[in-house]
C-alpha cells in the first residue's frame, strides 16, 4: 500500500478503535447504573483508544516512509555484481535513478545492461515487499496498540484527562513551531555569514563604501577582487525606504484621521476596503507597475524639465513602495487613534474645541507613541520589501542621496546573488547570506522596538 493510502487506513483504524472504545465504556457502565458512574464520558474512552491506535502507527509509518528509500537502495545496489557497485555517493544515486527509471518504464529496458534490468526488477519487487511489510507493520502496530488501549478501559480511568493532555501537547508543539522557525532562520544565515566573515573582514563589510561582488570563480579567471562594503546598499535601502515613508506616512495618517473622525459611515464602508485592497495587491504587481509605468514616466517627465533622471530612479521604486505601504500605515494609525479613549475626545469637544483642534492638540499627541511604533513597523517592511526593488531599482551600488539616481538595495543584491548560482563557497554567494543576516537583524531590532512601543501604548489606555 502507498504511504498516503496507509495513512488513510490508519485513520480508519483509529476510527474503529474509537467506536470500539466507546462501546466498551458504555457496556462497562451499564451494570454500574449508567454512564454517570464512569470517570469520563464514553466519548473520551473512544478518543483515548483512537489515540492509542493512531499515534504509534503514524510514527511507525513516518519512520518507515522516511527510511525505506535508503534501505532499498542499499539492498538493490548490494545485489549488483561487484564490478557495478558504485564507488561514490553520486554514482550510487545515478545508478539508483537509472534503475528506478528502468523500473518505471521511463527508460526502455532494451537500453540497459542486464544486471540493471535485473536490479530494476529487484527494485520493483523490493518496493512491493517494502510496501507490504510497511502495511503489515503499521496495521499490526495500530491493532495491537489499539487493543491495548481498548483493553485497559475501566470505569475509574480518567480518559478525559489523558486525551486532553495529549491534545494539549499537540497544541503546544504547534505553538513551539514558531521557535523552530526562528531557529531555522538563524541557522540558515548564521553559518554562511560566519564563513563569509572568514573571507571578508568585518571592517570592510560594515564600513566599505564599495559594493561590487566580482570574485573570480576559478583560479585561472581574471576578475576584480570584489568589494564587499555594504554602506552603499544600506544607504540605497534607506533612501528608497525614506521616499516610501514620505509618501505613505502623510497619506496614510491623514486618510486614517479623515476616515475615523470625519467620514460618514457609508464613505468609510466604501473607502476602507478599497484602501485595504492596496495592501492585498502582490508586490510583484507593484514591481511591474513601478518598472514599466512609473519609472519611465518619471524619467521622461524629468527629461522634459531638463533634469537628468535615471530610468531606475529610487523615486520610482520608493514612490510605488509608498503606495503599497499606505494601507499599512493607515490601518495601524486607525487602530491607534481609536485606542485613544472617547472620553478625551469628549473632554476636548466639551470645552468648545473644533474637531481639528481636538485631533491636532489632544488625540494626535496622545496617539503619537503608538503612531511612531506603527511607522517603525512600516519602515521595517519597506526595508525588507523585495520584488518592487528587484524589478524597479538598479543594480549599481551608488552612494547617493539623489532620488532621481538609481540605487540598489540589500534585498536586490540577495536575489541577484542567489538566483541561479547557488554554490555556497564563493564570497559572492556567502555575501548574500551575510546581507540576509543583516537584514534580519535590522528588521528584528525595528520590530522588537516597534512592537514594544505599540504594546506599551495600548496598555496605557486599557
Amino acid at each position: 500500500m502507498q504511504a498516503a493510502n496507509l495513512f488513510l487506513v490508519t485513520i480508519v483504524l483509529a476510527l474503529v478503535a474509537y467506536v470500539l472504545g466507546y462501546a466498551r465504556s458504555r457496556s462497562l457502565a451499564t451494570p454500574l447504573g449508567g454512564i454517570r458512574h464512569l470517570k469520563s464520558l464514553p466519548f473520551y474512552y473512544g478518543a483515548r483508544a483512537a489515540l492509542w491506535c493512531g499515534i504509534p502507527a503514524l510514527i511507525v509509518l513516518g519512520l518507515w516512509a522516511a527510511f525505506q528509500g535508503k534501505v532499498i537502495q542499499l539492498l538493490v545496489v548490494g545485489s549488483l555484481p561487484a564490478e557495478m557497485i558504485p564507488d561514490s555517493e553520486g554514482a550510487a544515486s545515478l545508478l539508483l535513478s537509472k534503475i528506478s527509471n528502468v523500473a518505471s518504464g521511463a527508460l526502455p529496458p532494451g537500453f540497459a545492461e542486464p544486471p540493471i534490468v535485473e536490479a530494476a526488477e529487484r527494485l520493483t519487487a523490493l518496493r512491493a515487499q517494502s510496501r507490504w511489510y510497511m502495511t503489515a507493520l503499521v496495521v499490526a502496530v495500530a491493532v495491537l496498540a489499539g487493543f491495548l488501549g481498548w483493553i485497559r478501559i475501566q470505569p475509574r480511568l480518567n480518559a478525559r484527562a489523558q486525551v486532553e493532555k495529549t491534545l494539549k501537547w499537540i497544541f503546544f508543539a504547534c505553538a513551539a513551531l514558531a521557535i523552530l522557525t526562528t531557529l531555522g532562520i538563524i541557522f540558515s544565515v548564521a553559518f554562511e555569514t560566519i564563513r563569509f566573515f572568514g573571507k571578508i573582514s568585518f571592517v570592510e563589510f560594515f564600513f566599505g563604501t564599495q559594493w561590487s561582488p566580482q570574485t573570480a570563480l576559478r583560479a585561472d579567471q581574471v576578475a576584480a577582487e570584489g568589494a564587499f562594503g555594504m554602506v552603499p546598499l544600506f544607504t540605497g535601502t534607506l533612501l528608497i525606504s525614506a521616499i516610501a515613508m514620505l509618501v505613505a506616512v502623510p497619506v496614510g495618517l491623514l486618510s486614517a484621521i479623515y476616515l475615523s473622525e470625519y467620514a460618514s459611515r457609508r464613505v468609510r464602508g466604501i473607502v476602507k476596503p478599497l484602501l485595504e485592497l492596496l495592501a492585498g495587491i502582490p508586490t510583484v504587481v507593484y514591481g511591474f507597475f513601478a518598472a514599466l509605468t512609473v519609472a519611465p514616466f518619471i524619467s521622461n517627465f524629468a527629461a522634459s524639465l531638463g533634469i537628468d533622471a535615471s530610468s531606475q530612479s529610487a523615486l520610482a521604486a520608493g514612490g510605488v513602495m509608498g503606495i503599497m505601504i499606505i494601507p499599512f500605515v493607515s490601518s495601524l494609525s486607525d487602530d491607534v487613534i481609536n485606542a485613544v479613549p472617547q472620553t478625551l475626545r469628549d473632554g476636548s469637544l466639551a470645552l468648545g474645541a473644533t474637531q481639528s483642534e481636538t485631533m491636532k492638540k489632544v488625540i494626535f499627541p496622545a496617539a503619537l507613541p503608538g503612531i511612531m511604533g506603527g511607522i517603525l513597523l512600516a519602515v521595517s517592511r519597506a526595508i525588507g520589501e523585495t520584488m518592487i526593488v528587484v524589478m524597479a531599482a538598479g543594480l549599481a551600488a551608488n552612494l547617493t542621496a539623489n532620488p532621481l539616481e538609481s540605487v540598489t538595495t540589500v534585498t536586490v543584491q540577495i536575489v541577484t546573488l542567489l538566483t541561479g548560482d547557488q554554490e555556497f563557497d564563493s564570497a559572492k554567494t556567502l555575501a548574500a547570506f551575510a546581507l540576509g543576516a543583516m537584514l534580519f537583524l535590522a528588521t528584528l531590532a525595528l520590530n522588537v522596538l516597534a512592537l514594544h512601543i505599540v504594546r506599551k501604548y495600548r496598555e496605557q489606555y486599557e
Binding site: S264, R265, P341, T343, L344, R345, D346, G347, S348, L349, A350, L351, G352, A353, T354, E357, K361, V362, P365, A366
Partner: protein, 295 residues
Amino acid sequence: MNTMNTTVTKEAAMPDETPVPVQEERPAETIIQEGATVGTPFADDPKFKLRNVEVFYGQDRAIKNISLDIARNEVIAFIGPSGCGKSTFLRCLNRMNDSIDICRVKGDLHLDDENIYDPKRDVVELRARVGMVFQKPNPFPKSIYDNVAYGPRIHGLANRKSDLDDIVENSLRKAGLWEEAKDRLDATATGMSGGQQQRLCIARAIAVSPEVILMDEPCSALDPIATAKVEELIAEMSESYTIVIVTHSMQQAARVSHRTAYFHLGHLVEVNETNKVFTAPEHELTESYITGRFG
C-alpha cells in the same frame, strides 16, 4: 438613623415571603403619561427652556417628549435607573450628542432664548458657554498647566502668558486644587489621583468661564473622600454657575441639589424641590425608586 433601619427591617424580616412583583400587571409604560411631568418642571426666566424634547438613537426613542426649565444658578440633579436617558438628556444641553452619528434630537431647546439646535448655531461657542464634566475623569495626557490652559488657548482668551497664568491659577483655586498642584504644574495630569483628576477636569471646564456646567455622574469613579471634596466644590460653584448633575446616588442628589428630576425609561416622571422628592414624592414610580424597590 434608626428610623431608617426600621424601615428596611420590615422587608428584611420576611425574606422568604414572595417579593412584591413590581407593577407586574401594570408595566411602567402605562402608568406614565407621555409628556406629563408631575411636580414643578417650569420656572420663570429660566437659563434653559426645553420643550417637547425627543431624542432618537436610530429608531430607538431614548427621550420621550420631555419639557423642563432650568433656572439660573440652580443645581438640578437628574436621577433614575440605569439606561433611563439621564446622560442622553444632559448631553443635549451642549449638543455633545452631535458626535454620535445615529443620534437625532427633536423639540425646542433654548439657552437664554437662543435656540440650541438652530442649524446656524455654532456648537463651539455653545460649548464654550456650557461646560461639561464627565463620569470618568478624563484629563488630557499633558501637564496640569496645559490641561487647564487648553480651553483658554484654543479660544484665544488670553493675550499674554501672564493672563493665561492668571486664568490657570484662578481656575485651580476655584476647583480647590491650587494648593495641591501649584508646585507641580508641569507634572503630567495622569499622574494625579482620581479625585484630583476630577477636580482638574472641573478646573479645566471653569477656565473658559462657562455659564453652565453639566456633570455626568462626576463622583461615581471616586472614593468617598474625593467625593466629599467634589460635592463641596459643587456647593461653592452653585453661586456663580448653573449646574446640572446626573447621579446614581440618591444621597448625593439629596446632598447637593436644589431640585431633582426623576427619569424613567426616557420619560421625565417628576421634578420637584429635592427636599420634596425625597420626603414626599408625588409620583408612584418616584416613590418606588426612592425606596429602593428597584434599580
